[in-house]
């Protein structure tokens, strides 16, 4: 065995998976996991832990995998993460734990993500649950939103003995894990639902179909329903559009709508009661992970799919692995290209898109080279569907109905990083609602910080 090279992970063949919604990556088996674990040199001053937003004791769990004690490995991860099977699949490990791995200096870093996934999957298959709190303290905490931030915050508080209720606006728990990330990257029933059930097994209650700010306000939760602290993890759900002509034509969708129909409402299944547009030629505008998800979904629904992105490949915000998978499956990348108008037929249906070629100029405020239009380079693409994947912003439903809750100019809730404290006493926040659209694991880190903040707050309250 070559210690410089990671044990390769098995995947579905690109040509096969382009036609189904089954998971792309098949994961390690126990032998492969133990072999990969043996590449970890168990650094004393482990850098990988510093790269993990929820600070999993990575060398300790890998040590257990190496020895074949998978259950022990699972309990170590569970101390820090409520959603290991999710994180093992969707975390950008290359820029976090694995990015810091000493092995990576000369050769491949240890496949920490794939090992985490293996441990979590093994625990699920063997019906191992996280250990719940030994004693309850009876204090009620409300968590708004059942996405990664809310589930993490709720799980940590339940483990500390709090009586936690999560309020979810949709009919299903999971937030972006169920409406945003597709089945082929993150299986819903097998993985997401089971991890949520694990959080529930810690004593967390989930009340669905409640829209905070509409069904009930935060002040009512505190004053009428006896919650002593509130965590807001409501995410960044509002889609952005470009504001170009033709954007309201039939066949133009936000990535949110397209993915919600396919993922949450299962519209990819022909028998679903919810329809989805099965286009023949689709352009996805944008270059992030959500754009890749939308593109790969459209491909699986039978379309020829183009990613239209105004900068070059180097600037694509999506994970390298996602771009690689998308290319393998046959997604066409039209880079340095920017839409200027969506063309419609006489019945308001999309018939094409006018674009202009771009080149990279001087770096802008983000440090990336600014895309500049090349004069007289306009051209038309023939299309029947356009999916706008330009990012999202926080929903103002909560901030606009909660007095004393400060927001910034992007409508994000202002909260400190250390404990998630907001400008309103007893109210904490974290995840995309605070940062704007980011990653699952960063939201989990924020949920964790807020759980600490809430615990501190309610502990000192008690001694007053």
């Amino acid at each position: 065995m070559d210690v410089l090279t990671k044990v390769p992970v098995r995947e579905q063949e690109a040509a096969v998976r382009a036609k189904n919604f089954d998971e792309v990556c098949l994961g390690y088996n126990k032998e492969e996991a133990m072999e990969e674990a043996s590449r970890c040199i168990n650094c004393k001053n482990a850098q990988c832990i510093k790269g993990c937003p929820v600070a999993i004791d990575i060398p300790a769990f890998i040590e257990q995998v190496k020895a074949g004690n998978i259950e022990r490995a699972y309990q170590i991860i569970s101390q820090s993460s409520a959603l290991p099977a999710v994180c093992g699949r969707v975390c950008p490990q290359e820029s976090q734990c694995e990015g810091k791995c000493i092995r990576g200096i000369k050769g491949d870093p240890v496949s920490i993500g794939k090992l985490e996934r293996f441990v979590a999957d093994w625990a699920r298959e063997n019906n191992i649950k996280p250990e719940p709190a030994k004693e309850k303290n009876g204090k009620k905490v409300a968590v708004i939103g059942s996405g990664p931030a809310g589930l993490t915050c709720a799980g940590d508080l339940a483990r500390l003995g709090y009586d936690v209720t999560i309020f979810e606006a949709l009919h299903e728990a999971g937030g972006v894990l169920v409406y945003g990330i597709p089945e082929f990257r993150l299986p819903k029933e097998e993985v997401v639902a089971k991890e949520i059930a694990n959080v529930e097994s810690l004593g967390v209650k989930i009340e669905k179909n409640v829209i905070i700010g509409k069904s009930i306000t935060i002040d009512e939760l505190i004053e009428e329903e006896g919650y002593e602290a509130v965590f807001i993890g409501s995410g960044a759900g509002l889609p952005k559009f470009m504001g170009i002509p033709g954007e309201n034509a039939n066949g133009v969708f936000s990535a949110n709508e397209y993915l919600t129909r396919s993922n949450l409402m299962k519209a990819f299944d022909e028998d679903s009661n919810t329809p989805i547009m099965r286009g023949k030629k689709v352009a996805v505008v944008g270059g992030g992970n959500v754009a890749m998800d939308a593109a790969r979904t459209a491909l699986r629904l039978g379309a020829e799919v183009h990613i239209v992105y105004r900068r070059s490949e180097e600037e694509l915000p999506a994970r390298v692995e996602e771009v690689h998978h998308a290319k393998e499956e046959g997604i066409i990348f039209d880079l340095l290209t920017n839409p200027t108008e969506i063309l419609e037929d006489e019945n308001n249906w999309v018939r094409g898109m006018k674009c202009i070629k771009m080149e990279l100029g001087e770096p802008d405020a983000s440090g990336r080279r600014r895309p500049v239009e090349i004069p007289n380079s306009e051209f038309e693409m023939e299309l029947d569907t356009v999916i706008m994947s330009l990012g999202t912003s926080p929903n103002p439903l909560i901030s606009s109905t909660t007095e004393g809750l400060e927001t910034n100019k992007w409508k994000c809730i202002v909260a400190d990083e250390e404990f998630g404290r907001t400008s309103k006493e007893g109210v904490f926040a974290g995840g995309d609602a605070v940062t704007g659209a980011a990653t699952v694991i960063l939201a989990m880190g924020a949920g964790k910080a807020a759980a600490k903040g809430i615990h501190n707050y309610l502990s000192t309250q008690a001694t007053k």
Partner: protein
């Protein structure tokens, strides 16, 4: 892992509360009324708002207007017309059954709810309801009635059989004018004709609130613009989540793009681009037609209908 732990686990897995149907009846052909237990919605809803329902675990999310609410009993009354496969499935629900999901209140309350009461009392308001649009008009007229304000109401229906909520409306409206397209009951003709006649008789209105089919609202707005009566309409476009997330319900109002679910559903009718809104309602027509045929004909349908794209 003691007994406590098992109990806690069970508690955590308690099934989601169901939304029980206390009353279900067919008001007229294809229009149904249901009274549903939904205490959280009933506690905070206002006229003008709506709910989203899902009949079972595989159901589509269907936005429906609130026809009435009882805060003490914790119930919401919904009225819907079977227009597609999903509502056709929903009509089979009986008293004692439950909705799997029932969420709200969604959207903004009608402007009048937050308006200065003295100013509002001085306004002469005309409601124009068309077909099943009578249902969302009712709570607004009732709300005004409870504030001691009598509003005039025009209700339009295709024919006498399709007229709904006449008695209820009569109890809360100032003057109630009923008109049917075929003249089988009340006046004969479209609602716009009645508006014109009332104005010709010398009636003056400061505000018109029109709710009904998109095409009706379009023509009401065309007329009230000429007559100089500010008009509010309530839109019911395609939507998925109803909280601002999907953007399916976007509509052009003046020179701005608005989301009906969070910015509406009520808008200044003189600024709404109805032609675009009507075309946007057609997006899933083919898919919906196919689903509808599946419900009506089961496996016996094999294409040829021009709708479904099936064989031949």
């Amino acid at each position: 892992m003691g007994a406590l732990c098992i109990k806690e686990m069970k508690k955590g897995m308690v099934k989601q509360r169901m939304y029980k149907i206390l009353e279900a009846k067919e008001l007229t052909t294809n229009i149904y009324l249901m009274v549903v237990e939904a205490p959280r919605v009933a506690k905070n809803c206002q006229p003008g708002q709506f709910v989203i329902v899902r009949m079972d675990k595989d159901g589509e999310r269907i936005p429906l207007t609130i026809c009435d609410y009882d805060r003490e009993k914790g119930t919401i009354t919904i009225v819907f017309q079977t227009v597609g496969a999903e509502t056709a499935r929903m009509q089979a629900l009986k008293s004692g059954d439950s909705f799997h999901d029932f969420v709200g209140p969604l959207g903004c309350a009608s402007e009048m709810v937050s308006e200065d009461q003295d100013k509002l009392a001085k306004k002469k308001i005309l409601f124009v309801a068309g077909g099943v649009g009578t249902a969302p008009v009712y709570p607004q007229v009732k709300w005004l009635h409870n504030q001691g304000i009598a509003a005039d109401v025009i209700v339009g229906a295709k024919n006498h059989d399709l007229l709904i909520l006449e008695k209820e409306m009569e109890a809360v409206a100032g003057n109630l004018y009923i008109t049917t397209d075929d003249g089988s009951y009340g006046r004969k003709g479209m609602v716009t004709q009645t508006i014109q006649e009332l104005v010709d008789e010398g009636k003056k209105y400061d505000l018109c609130i029109a709710i009904g089919p998109m095409i009706m609202m379009k023509f009401v707005c065309k007329l009230t613009k000429e007559l100089g009566i500010p008009t509010i309409v309530s839109l019911n476009p395609i939507m998925v989540d109803g909280t601002g997330m999907c953007g399916a319900c976007r509509v052009t109002v003046g020179d701005k793009v608005k989301f009906a679910c969070v910015d509406g559903p009520e808008f200044d009718g003189h600024l709404v681009n109805f032609d675009e809104a009507m075309k946007r309602q057609q997006i899933y027509k083919t898919a919906e037609g196919r689903a509808m045929l599946k419900v009506q004909e089961g496996d016996t349908h094999h294409g040829g209908c021009g709708q479904c794209g099936g064989e031949n």
